[in-house]
Symmetry: C2
Subunit: 368 residues, 2 copies
């Protein structure tokens, strides 16, 4: 209801209306209405070493109405744009699934549906994101709330002042959309952000008030961080100049999660420029930690074939070519073991907060 | 750190110490140390029609030390009790996984581990819950934060006053443990609780400030509600005398979620008496709603074989024997269709908040 912003919404609405304009203009000129959609395949993706980002290239494909193979998809694209436009005008947000339902009709005097499954509408929303250079969030498409945050951070959500230092251990539930039109960062006195993969460790840190003893923001997405959590970290990095430290399990999946936070993902290359944090630092678990911190071998988990294959793939990625990273991944492979953050509990339930992280931070023991 | 409570913790600690006492007392008397563990199988579970709860019976099994088949399990039970005791003494909470790691050692002068996988420690924690009549949360075992809440509700978490009417659209992230020793309900002026299955609809309601127009608490667990969300609903019901309305998809899974909220689950029958809400009401989606609210058939999803089998199973459950429920489930089966809450968006993005729920509430159109 509130969350008026004028500027952003207006701009996005204009872009969406532009999609309809293509059809009208072409019709007036008696031409074939055509939309230019950037190609979202591996062939059109590169790693920009200078920026440290996975980026999309400039290849485009035409989608035109008077083409038997494309006509339905063209019509569907316009329908989805129309639903998205409705969201902008009413100043509402919704989910991918509801957009599918909203755009689904049985075409008059036929048995034909505009859409049969959500698989047909989701890619069109991505097409529009890329074509219109608007983040999904700017198109007002959200997922579920997906994480928690505590620490010396004051946000404004829907006009409410939310002090994340006064929300107990539970914290603020991070919304799916944290764009400035919805969520403002009023103030933040932290020195850094600790982005924790798993909720368990976040709970340990929150319970022990680690954010207070180390003046930081504790953020988690309960697993692979959802877009809202990534965008919030990115905004804290950009707007408050905070370093971002990422704490994940020591396994190929942990490395991958870190890499997505740092340089973006191949699937959503278009969004890297506003989601990725090229300066993010990997603070652990490192494959060197079990030795350094004396973790017993019996809490390591044997790498399975999938882990080994995945780790070898990571070794070949351009963004893991730095010497330190090659060493990190190879050490895991040669040990034959992976370690979960939870394994630190084998020493002591509070080992993470009292020993491991304080030493890591003091020794600046991280990878970039 | 804070969250001192003395009473509860002390009592639970004593119970845990009691487990060790069994061993000591037996040793002193030169007897076989034996623990009595309630049987957690279907044979020991009944539905108490009067209370409207799934309950555990009184059958017990002995676990003794001087029995080749039981010795390891006995030792493991004592180790887990010891780790849980450590939590009580240090006033900490932790996860099932960390308890596994904490209790895992290689036994001196052997290659034998106390535990090889978490599958061995989890059931022992359940054994202890049941034996000691302590909820998992009272044993300080938590899962991840698992849901969101907004509305006219003031909580106290770790000494912080958390006003859920002033947390924007995002709301308060519901902790895994909401027991009174950790979370206090300071005040609540709502008329009822709306427990919403999916985050999408919760977001719609939160964005539209439905809690303000209808003076209610909006609660979700993003799917099958986790224990923290169920306990919070139960506490609001008990302590603030609030009716609980449950909003789920119209499919067998939705019915099942409702039934777990209402009378508990077979797997965790022991906990029903403190988790279940026998007076919870099913407010929708009902299989009658598509007709009543004019939902087009094309947004219904064809029931698959699994749905049909599951629905037929539900028809046989004791707690679905009421006439209205038989009619409800049979109507779904005969229509051959299931409907998601998201399908309401086919009418209008705000149909849920502006039309559907207001009418449901006004007409008291729910099932018990």
């Amino acid at each position: 209801m509130a969350r008026k912003n004028g500027k952003t919404s207006g701009a996005v609405e204009k872009k969406l209306v532009g999609v309809a304009d293509v059809v009208i203009t072409a019709a007036q000129r008696r031409k074939d209405p055509t939309l230019a959609i950037p190609v979202r395949s591996l062939s059109n993706i590169t790693f920009n070493e200078h920026k440290g980002l996975i980026e999309m290239g400039k290849a485009m494909q035409a989608r035109s109405f008077f083409n038997v193979g494309m006509a339905k998809k063209f019509m569907q694209t316009v329908l989805v744009a129309d639903a998205l436009c409705e969201l902008q005008r009413a100043d509402l947000t919704t989910s991918l699934r509801e957009i599918y339902y909203r755009s689904k009709h049985t075409i008059k005097n036929s048995q034909e549906n505009t859409f049969d499954t959500q698989d047909e509408s989701d890619p069109l929303i991505e097409d529009l994101e890329v074509s219109l250079a608007a983040l999904r969030e700017e198109l007002h498409v959200r997922a579920e709330n997906g994480g928690s945050v505590v620490g010396p951070l004051v946000l404004v959500d829907d006009g409410d002042r939310v002090d994340c230092a006064k929300l107990g251990k539970g914290g603020y539930s991070v919304p799916s959309i944290v764009e400035p039109e919805y969520l403002q960062i009023r103030s933040c006195t932290a020195d850094f952000v600790l982005l924790v993969e798993k909720g368990t460790q976040w709970n340990r840190l929150s319970e022990d008030k680690f954010w207070r003893t180390h003046n930081c923001i504790l953020l988690t997405g309960n697993g692979q961080p959802p877009r809202g959590v990534r965008r919030l970290a990115r905004r804290l990095h950009d707007e408050k100049r905070l370093p971002i430290y990422v704490l994940v399990d020591n396994d190929p999946w942990g490395y991958y999660i870190f890499s997505v936070i740092k340089q973006g993902s191949i699937n959503l290359a278009f969004e890297s420029q506003r989601m990725a944090i090229p300066k993010a630092k990997f603070i652990g678990l490192s494959s060197g930690d079990p030795e350094t911190y004396g973790l017993p071998r019996n809490v390591g988990i044997k790498l399975n074939d999938k882990d080994i294959t995945r780790a070898r793939e990571l070794l070949n990625y351009q963004w893991f070519q730095k010497k330190a990273w090659q060493k990190e991944i190879k050490r895991m492979l040669s040990s034959g073991l992976k370690y979960e953050l939870d394994a630190l509990a084998s020493k002591d339930f509070q080992y993470l907060t009292k020993k491991y992280l304080p030493r890591k931070l003091k020794e600046k023991d991280w990878l970039e």
